[in-house]
């Protein structure tokens, strides 16, 4: 489309090698994985190969993987699935969670769960002391994301697990935005469940997984035939699952690109943004090396995004799921960012196809937009 795409946190293109593996499963190996004949068995084998790849990438056994329709379903399954099998008690969910965690949490509050939110510091990190107060014996379940979709700030999930283990609290982490941008090891984190999505890691949309610890049980959200060991009914999306598997394999293969190239690109980008007077949210926190969330005083985010779009750059003004709404991001609100600055929020998220040359072009375009918007603001 002749645009420079800087919105990889919203979604990613499907990698060519992922697509090549998916392709035969549309028109040739089209069997239903539940069918007993040859075409069914081919599909079943492909699903199990993909399950192995996902398991390898996260450091678990294949039987710990439940395939879903995406991150939202994985998060719903984790929260409602755990909550369905333990006594109604306290549920702790950070205020910076994705809507697919926050909204199910509110649904559970309707069913009698005591919903509590820990504080978040000004850099967007969940406050562990506050967390410790909430994770007492009355608490049954906690959900804290591994990396935030807007700021890219990495959350102290392993520390939350240590606090939770003292009182036997189940821990879920939404790793949809973290996976592929940092090393993710299920056992090192120590969580009970972890969500991933295909389309954030150069896999297809419409597929994801929930990884669960051995021995923990869930109540299914989708009921029907006994797919996925009875935990998730519905004919398997074979091509999607094959794509997710390959995308997971690539995550591991390409981690060095993230840790060197993307880090370099982001470094150059943020130096440039700050030189233009931009404020980077979560600047002091540890972040995934592709996400820069920033604002300029007195410049409206959607206006700046539209100008950048005119100049050929795709950026986001908040998380993609809520960017249709005009209210400022709840993440920035939780961080205590003043409203006038929050309204200016722009998210640039880089990916495998981003280059240093793109960054230089972007900074020059940003300079142009910011100076002209500042001028028009001064005239008004």
């Amino acid at each position: 489309m002749g645009m420079i795409y800087c919105d990889y946190n919203a979604t990613t293109p499907v990698d060519e090698s992922v697509f090549e593996l998916m392709r035969p499963f549309f028109c040739d190996h089209y069997g239903n994985a539940s069918s007993r004949h040859q075409l069914g068995r081919i599909a079943k084998v492909a699903i199990e190969e993909a399950r192995n790849k996902v398991a390898n990438a996260i450091g678990v056994q294949p039987e710990q993987i439940i395939f879903t329709s995406g991150g939202t379903e994985s998060n719903n399954l984790a929260l409602k699935g755990f909550a369905g099998l333990i006594p109604v008690s306290r549920l702790v969910v950070s205020p910076i969670e994705h809507a697919s965690v926050r909204v199910p949490a509110h649904e559970l509050a309707w069913l009698g769960w005591e919903l509590k939110q820990p504080r978040v510091n000004s850099d967007g990190v969940v406050d562990l002391e506050d967390m410790a107060q909430l994770l007492t014996g009355k608490c049954g379940l906690v959900s804290v994301m591994l990396a935030n979709n807007e700021t890219g700030v990495i959350q102290p999930v392993a520390d939350v697990v240590k606090l939770a283990q003292k009182s036997g609290v189940l821990v879920h982490t939404d790793a949809v935005q973290a996976f592929g941008k940092m090393r993710v090891d299920f056992d090192l984190l120590g969580v009970d469940a972890l969500s991933i999505a295909g389309h954030k890691i150069y896999g297809p949309k419409g597929v994801g997984a929930l990884v669960i610890r051995k021995g923990v049980d869930l109540m299914p959200v989708l009921t029907g035939a006994s797919h996925e060991r009875g935990l998730r009914a519905g004919t398997e999306n074979v091509a999607g699952i094959v794509g997710l598997g390959e995308a997971c394999r690539l995550v591991i293969e390409r981690m060095n690109i993230v840790e060197t190239h993307l880090k370099e690109c982001s470094g150059r980008l943020e130096t440039g943004i700050e030189a233009l007077g931009g404020v980077i949210f979560g600047r002091k926190a540890s972040r995934v090396p592709n996400t820069s969330y920033f604002a300029f005083e007195n410049i409206d985010g959607p206006v700046l995004a539209a100008r950048l779009d005119d100049l050929g750059f795709c950026v986001a003004t908040g998380s993609a799921c809520s960017s249709g709404k005009t209210e400022p991001s709840p993440v920035l609100d939780a961080m205590g960012v003043p409203l006038h600055l929050a309204r200016g929020a722009i998210r640039v998220s880089l990916g495998m196809h981003s280059t240093i040359a793109d960054i230089e072009q972007f900074l020059s375009a940003l300079n142009q937009c910011v100076s002209s918007l500042h001028r028009s603001a001064a005239c008004a």
Binding site: D7, H37, K205, G224, T235
Partner: protein, 407 residues
């Protein structure tokens, strides 16, 4: 396209799933790698392009079933659509009543969801079907109570292909103020669906039964009069708050194109499929002691479900490994339980076990049908040669009078 030679195995399992039509696949591909935006992205052209493709597809789905595109909600497939329709309506209307009605030959996604609601305190009536697999309209009428909030009856049965009297059931539901949900996963492209004339409130669709991709489906939610649902998948508020989750653009585009092709081609295609089915039927009924399961008239032309007496089901499947067919629904065939659908028709375990579902589709050829008839005749003959039951039957022994050893 007609060939004299056939490639093995012959796929006659179009009711389990269909290949993606190559025309559908070619529409999908650019949305994986090129126009890959998130349809929810509002600030750039990648997002807008994806959103436009999603809305085009919504129109196509709506046009096949004659509804307003705003009445179509995307889901991950018919299982999710059935879950959303049944749980969503039951939860929303539970203050009105706690009774639901369905029938015994529904898909597991409906039956299991009903069981789940029973655990939550709802009461469910599971209607028997007649010997031909059809729901009795009178029995349905008498099952409705003042506290009934929802009935769920499938349009086309997945195992035996019979078409339920949805039009009549809809009128009854409408008179009684009961919502009607219809699982139409097996119906699209096979029977005309006109939601302008049907009194149906909720209808589930699947793409992969109609030459679209797996992992995508839709739910029709009637607007006038408006049907309310409690969402089951919570999050970013996609699909008017009824179903959150990033929309899988390529999948949706695939479903739209598949449904467009169904709308344009079903007339001609169904006649061709009917010709093939009738040819298969004519060939198989010449075999002694075969029983057709389900009504032959009120039935989609794609389906033929036959029980072969005195032949054991699993050995039959082994014998016909050159045919990709189902013995029972694809979703349950991993277990050795006899098909609950055939049991509901009153078939005994033996006949239920020895049933084969042949489902014919877009790419089935006449040569494949002829090969199939020939193969089935030979294999049934061979297995019956080996069957002590066949021998006894031929000797005139009534097997029902035999004292079988306990085992």
């Amino acid at each position: 396209m007609e060939q004299n030679t056939v490639n093995l195995p012959i796929y006659l399992d179009y009711s389990a799933t269909t290949p993606v039509d190559p025309r559908v696949a070619s529409k999908m591909v650019p949305y994986l790698t090129e126009y890959f935006g998130n349809p929810a992205s509002r600030s750039h052209v990648y997002g807008w392009t994806a959103e436009k493709a999603v809305e085009n597809a919504r129109n196509e789905v709506a046009m096949l079933v004659r509804c307003d595109p705003r009445e179509i909600i995307w889901t991950s497939g018919a299982t999710e659509s059935n879950n959303l329709a049944i749980k969503g309506a039951a939860h929303f209307y539970k203050s009105k009543g706690r009774h639901l009605v369905t029938e015994k030959t529904e898909h597991k996604a409906v039956l299991d969801t009903m069981r789940e609601l029973e655990r939550e305190g709802f009461e469910v009536t599971y209607l028997d079907v007649e010997e031909n697999g059809l729901v009795s309209v009178d029995a349905f009428r008498s099952a409705l109570r003042p506290d009934t909030i929802l009935a769920s009856v499938m349009l086309v049965n997945n195992e035996i292909g019979v078409i339920q009297p949805i039009y009549e059931l809809g009128e009854i539901c409408c008179q009684q103020g009961v919502l009607l949900h219809v699982d139409a996963a097996q119906a699209t492209g096979k029977v005309e669906i006109d939601l302008q004339s049907l009194q149906v409130d909720l209808m589930s669709f699947s793409a992969h039964k109609t030459y679209g991709p797996k992992g995508i489906g839709a739910l029709y939610v009637r607007r006038k009069p408006r049907v309310r649902l409690e969402g089951q998948m919570h999050g970013g508020g996609h699909e008017r708050g009824l179903r959150s989750g990033t929309l899988a653009t390529h999948q949706i585009v695939g479903m739209g194109e598949a449904f467009r092709l169904a709308r344009e081609e079903m007339g001609v295609e169904n006649e061709r499929v009917r010709y093939l089915r009738d040819r298969l039927l004519a060939g198989l009924v010449q075999i002694e002691e075969t029983y057709i399961n389900g009504d032959l008239i009120k039935r989609v032309p794609h389906n033929l479900n036959v029980s072969f007496n005195f032949v054991e089901g699993e050995s039959l499947i082994m014998a016909i490994k050159d045919l990709a067919v189902s013995s029972g629904s694809a979703c349950t065939s991993a277990s050795l339980e006899p098909s609950y659908v055939l049991r509901a028709l009153g078939r005994n375990d033996e006949l239920a076990h020895s049933s084969i579902r042949f489902s014919i589709g877009r790419f089935t050829t006449e040569a494949e049908i002829d090969f199939t008839i020939d193969l089935i005749r030979k294999k049934i003959g061979r297995l019956r040669e080996m069957s002590p039951l066949w021998e006894m039957f031929k000797e005139g022994i009534d097997l029902n009078q035999v004292q079988w050893s306990a085992h």
